[in-house]
Symmetry: C2
Subunit: 185 residues, 2 copies
DNA sequence: TGCAAGATACCGCGTGGTCGGTTTGTTTTC
DNA sequence: GAAAACAAACCGACCACGCGGTATCTTGCA
């Protein structure tokens, strides 16, 4: 007989995690629209019924995925700021993590872009980024730094548009330029 | 008897236009996912059958909307470049038109962002912007100008995220700063 | 009179979601 | 310390609905 999640030792944590990762993978491949309840369940090796046991509805699933992402971002930023202090340290971490996120086809990306479709997710993202900004107000409030962060966003956006193809210009040079702008006030 | 589009003077051009504008409006309010054939038809005061008479299928509708948008952008850019020449003129026009587009809740916006979901649209946008860039290669190839354009993109993106709310910082100051960066190489 | 514009009715399908049943774990009871 | 009782995990079949799309008919216009 087939061993399914039905008659297998119950592992709610793992299944829940599998569902989240399946959703992220699908979002990367096909955008937010690719997240269909059936597809997520299939990919996680669970049935729809099983999925709805863990998440009340589809929106709850997406919210959870979003939380998952924000946590990862927080971790990345904190890690990068560990060995950097003083004026502009957050902006530098922001730039580096943005470029990193582009180079390796890391999580989120297609997801965090399609989120703009959903006003609720848009609001949550806004709150998150605003919170981080006030947290580093003392070191990163300078308008010049603001421009640098905006440029990083723009670069990330361009990369998403170009399906990850860096195009003619070298990313390293641009990144170095932005980092340099961080130190000259 | 009720006057419907059934027994009303035929005005194919106007109806077609109404359908396009309805699609744009829906996209702004609910994202690309909000563009459903039924909703667009309803909003334009036409039935689904009428819509499908003008556009072979939904994709054709969306493509037409996209064309509509690109035309408007081209017009805006050319208009702004009419009284500006020399190094960085295109970048300045780009910055100004980006900020304009944010202030008035002009067309596109939510649409042009949700387009990232669709690989085909993404490709078309990429081709359009690349074409404009090579066209102004002589005046706007400088890496510093590239950073400025990226920052403009980032600002536009931030505004979309914040639902048009400019937040704490003054847009005018930022715009002036970016324009200034255009002239100091 | 013929053709374009538009209406009306309908179809197949995929979707999110529900529901009752089955299996596995854990706790209570004697 | 087993067995009974309960709760949690999960399945699988099903439903209602909205979607994109088609086919056919009616009306206005040249």
């Amino acid at each position: 007989m087939n061993v399914t999640a039905y008659n297998r030792p119950k592992q709610p944590e793992q299944v829940r995690r599998a569902l989240l990762e399946a959703a992220v993978a699908l979002a990367e491949e096909q955008g937010l629209g690719g997240i269909t309840v059936q597809a997520v369940a299939d990919r996680a090796g669970v049935t729809k019924g099983g999925l709805f046991h863990h998440f009340a509805n589809k929106q709850a699933l997406i919210d959870a995925v979003f939380d998952f992402m924000l946590e990862q971002m927080d971790e990345a930023l904190d890690r990068l700021m560990a060995d950097d202090v003083g004026e502009g340290c957050f902006t530098r971490a922001y730039v580096v993590s943005t470029f990193e996120c582009c180079d390796m086809a890391l999580s989120g990306q297609a997801l965090s872009i399609s989120m703009v479709t959903d006003p609720a997710l848009r609001r949550r993202w806004r709150d998150w980024i605003d919170a981080r900004l006030v947290r580093h107000a003392e070191t990163d409030a300078d308008p010049g730094l603001h421009v640098v962060r905006l440029a990083a966003d723009g670069y990330w956006f361009a990369r998403v548009l170009h399906d990850g193809d860096p195009g003619t210009e070298a990313p390293e040079a641009l990144q170095a330029r932005l980092i340099a702008m961080t130190r000259e006030d």
